[in-house]
Symmetry: C2
Subunit: 268 residues, 2 copies
């Protein structure tokens, strides 16, 4: 039996009505509610575990409608359309009958084709020459990741300075765990809010929507093993209460595994 | 009464069961099924017209589950969660009882905050010094847009050359029409497939999912009027049957209106 804290956190039980029962994880708690990445991984896991699933994840969109309270939740995942080699999912997560997360996913049987990564991995020092991050990080979920910032780390001085929101870091599960679609889903949300980097100012924030595009198939994830991922994120616009970011995750061999985007609420 | 071809195409009628009835538009036909942007605008319009709607669009994700057949369709839009100033929508479009599109949207009341565009508009010649695009474009929907390519135009010779997928163009409705959320939704899908630029090779393609982040509110769209938008798109990865692209649309004044992403199926 796999006893990694991540596997415990995403565990779901199939119910007689076809829904899945899960429970929030204290190990992945954020300031308010859970780490968004673990909610996304729980949602993804409902699709991965679903008896009707066809193929592997190509995209996932998750919308954070309300902060989950500590306790049980229900995931309803429905294959809205199944084609010959593709499938479209509608997903809803509920607590006490109220919707807390919504989402859609696209899965597909993939086959070998011509391909190229147009976004190549930036030149960075290797993980073993990149020290761990410093600074006060009281959130529980941070402890479940080994993060080694290269650029755009969490500010140590909140002085309102900054002219770019670019962050680059090496990251993997702590303790190490072989990469799969569920853990890659969670890792896609590992970035702290871009406004903290751009302004060096602490303001209330919360992700409202995140989309993940999986470029890798399961064999490429297996080949990544438990090595570090190079994760990079940058905002494109901060405007009237919401900013976005666009991000990429490569494995140590330089294969682009994921491109991912999100919109974050901020008060300012 | 507004008789612009776009308004005719996105027209919906509220039904007694709360759903909306619409009809595909011959003017926006693509090679197979409708132009994806017009389907996205029809879906967006159901939220915009919905009597329960709170606030303005901040994000929309649309998944293309099947090519729509010419004829009527039904849009089911449901406010899955309404908070004090935000709202989460689940949307499904059906033809003959079968799901053809799925989606989610996030709307919000926005207020003035500190902000900055980190992605500034690239230096480009103005629209009136940029000639119209050339080349054979048999699709009906192309006629509904005034497109003026700056870089990465549709190849005139299909010789397998190319080393970047970057496209930049000026674009607006043809005839001109004041910008609003519905038309901006459609314009966000105006890019032809990145693989055509990167490889100068014609292969079967089809968008499977698209996400749009609206950075502008309605007053900023109004200020854009019917001027041109600078639209830019670039792929990040082509792999095993699917590629992505990441794109931005600025108005002529240089305000970033939208960042948008999609995944496209390709055969190769």
């Amino acid at each position: 039996m796999n006893s990694h804290v991540f596997d415990q956190a995403i565990a779901l039980e199939l119910q007689s009505d076809g829904s899945f029962a899960g429970h929030t994880s204290a190990a992945y708690a954020n300031m308010v509610g859970p780490f968004g990445g673990i909610s996304a991984a729980q949602m993804m896991n409902a699709v991965l575990m679903h008896p009707d699933r066809l193929g592997e994840p190509v995209s996932l969109t998750i919308n954070f409608a309300a902060a989950l309270e500590p306790g049980p939740f229900v995931v309803q995942a429905r294959a809205a359309r199944t084609n010959r080699s593709t499938q479209h999912w509608m997903i809803e997560v509920l607590q006490k009958g109220e919707t807390v997360l919504t989402g859609t996913a696209f899965t597909a049987l993939r086959r070998d084709t011509w391909g190229v990564d147009e976004d190549t991995m930036p030149q960075c020092p290797p993980p073993d020459q990149t020290p761990h991050g410093k600074g006060p990080m009281p959130m529980e979920w941070i402890k479940q990741y080994d993060m080694r910032p290269i650029a755009g780390a969490m500010p140590l001085v909140w002085d309102g300075s900054g002219d770019t929101s670019l962050t680059q870091l090496w990251v993997r599960d702590n303790p190490p765990r072989p990469l799969d679609f569920a853990s890659l889903t969670a890792l896609s949300d590992v970035f702290f809010p871009r406004i903290f980097v751009r302004r060096a100012t602490l303001v209330p924030v919360g992700t409202v929507t995140m989309t993940i595009y999986f470029h890798a198939d399961s064999s490429q994830l297996q080949a990544s093993g438990s090595s570090y991922l190079l994760a990079q994120a940058r905002a494109q616009s901060f405007r009237n209460g919401y900013f976005d970011h666009t991000a990429q995750l490569w494995n140590e061999a330089g294969v682009l595994l994921v491109t991912t985007h999100q919109v974050v609420y901020y008060k300012s």
